[in-house]
């Protein structure tokens, strides 16, 4: 809170970028590159493709920045591009299922540590256990804090459809996490018996 300057909004930066401001566009890249990368990783389960698609998203945004209308949220506009790219990528090939080694191998024995580990790995779990659409909806809702209406707009789906996707995603995650919890409890129980 030491800086007294107010950060310009995404929309203000997008307008500057639309008028040829490269610095403004770079600011937008800095704000969104990791978020988009995360979105693609959770959705496609492939880091290299996630990097490529993040770059392609910014390139398309730059090409079409003249069409951006500031009355719409820049975030929704950007994630609409990202979502379309993810769909076309998903059509090209099925996602690669990569096992997170850290998710399983680095488990600590104590139950509270397990709970922390489980929490910490919630996105890795989401990445593996949700469908691409469910993963996208969860990221946009809980990480990008977008409203259900905005998510529906950016994914070109109905509000009801997004609600169903969210509900199923939460249910699926709860089931997977519960299973893991039970497995961990058994492990902790057996360790306690050994000591």
């Amino acid at each position: 809170m030491t800086s007294g300057t107010v950060q310009p909004s995404d929309e203000a930066l997008a307008i500057q970028a639309r008028d040829g401001g490269m610095d403004a566009f770079e600011q937008l890249v800095l704000r969104y590159e990791k978020r988009l990368f995360g979105f693609f990783v959770v959705r496609l389960n492939d880091r290299q493709t996630a990097e490529d698609l993040t770059q392609e998203t910014f390139l398309r945004a730059f090409r079409h920045i003249r069409n951006y209308e500031p009355e719409h949220a820049f975030k929704t506009w950007l994630f609409t591009i990202a979502h379309r790219l993810a769909i076309s990528q998903y059509r090209k090939r099925k996602p690669v299922m990569v096992m997170e080694t850290g998710d399983i191998d680095n488990r600590t024995p104590a139950a509270d540590c397990m709970a922390d580990e489980r929490r910490r790995n919630i996105w890795a779990t989401a990445r593996r256990s949700l469908t691409p659409d469910q993963a996208a909806v969860v990221v946009l809702k809980y990480k990008e804090d977008m409203s259900v209406k905005d998510i529906a707009d950016s994914m070109n789906k109905s509000v009801a459809n997004i609600k169903v996707l969210l509900h199923r995603a939460r249910k699926q995650l709860a089931v997977v996490l519960k299973k893991r919890e039970q497995t961990d409890d058994v492990l902790v129980g057996s360790e306690a018996l050994e000591t």
């Binding site: 490269m22 770059q55 910014f58 609600k163 709860a174």
Partner: protein
């Protein structure tokens, strides 16, 4: 059976960030299953909000530089007016080329197959001297020679008009592809 309905209402309220309906709240007072469902759902939501996406991994070194290099390259291409090729025109290039080729083929076919002279009238028809064709073609009145000349002129005029139309069409295609 009722729990499923109430849990659906709870999920809906969480999704839309609205109040849980009174009926469901009342049901939860006596239903530990639904109370647990709400607690678990809230915990899950909190975890999803709090835990950073960066925990699933950072992009590789030079990621930002790579993006900006691509954007700057795009910007340079956009600013070079001579080198800029409209993407839509580029995409449709093959379509236009195909249409042009079809047009040229059409002209070639017409030039080859179109008779140089109109068909010769039957001799009996030519010997009739002065005659009148049906009223629908009032201009073709006179001797067979006159009629032959008239038809020839009309044929030439129509062929010329057709050639002009095709040339105009080709010019248009060239303008579209070039512009």
């Amino acid at each position: 059976m009722w729990c499923r309905k109430h849990q659906s209402a709870i999920a809906d309220a969480l999704t839309m960030e609205t109040e849980i309906p009174g009926v469901t709240r009342k049901h939860m007072e006596s239903c530990p299953e639904c109370r647990r469902f709400l607690a678990d759902s809230r915990r899950l939501e909190t975890d999803l909000r709090v835990v950073s996406l960066e925990d699933i991994g950072e992009p590789s070194q030079g990621f930002h530089a790579g993006i900006m290099a691509a954007v700057h390259a795009e910007n340079r291409q956009r600013r070079a007016p001579g080198k800029q090729v409209p993407r839509r025109a580029l995409r449709l290039g093959w379509v236009w080329a195909g249409a042009g080729a079809a047009g040229i083929l059409l002209i070639f076919t017409l030039t080859i197959s179109w008779p140089a002279k109109p068909p010769v009238e039957p001799s009996g028809f030519a010997n009739t001297g002065g005659f009148a064709l049906p009223l629908s073609v009032p201009s073709l009145v006179g001797t067979a020679d006159d009629m032959g000349k008239t038809l020839d002129n009309r044929y030439q005029a129509e062929l010329g008009a057709l050639r002009k139309d095709i040339e105009a069409g080709l010019d248009f295609l060239v303008t579209c592809v070039g512009g």
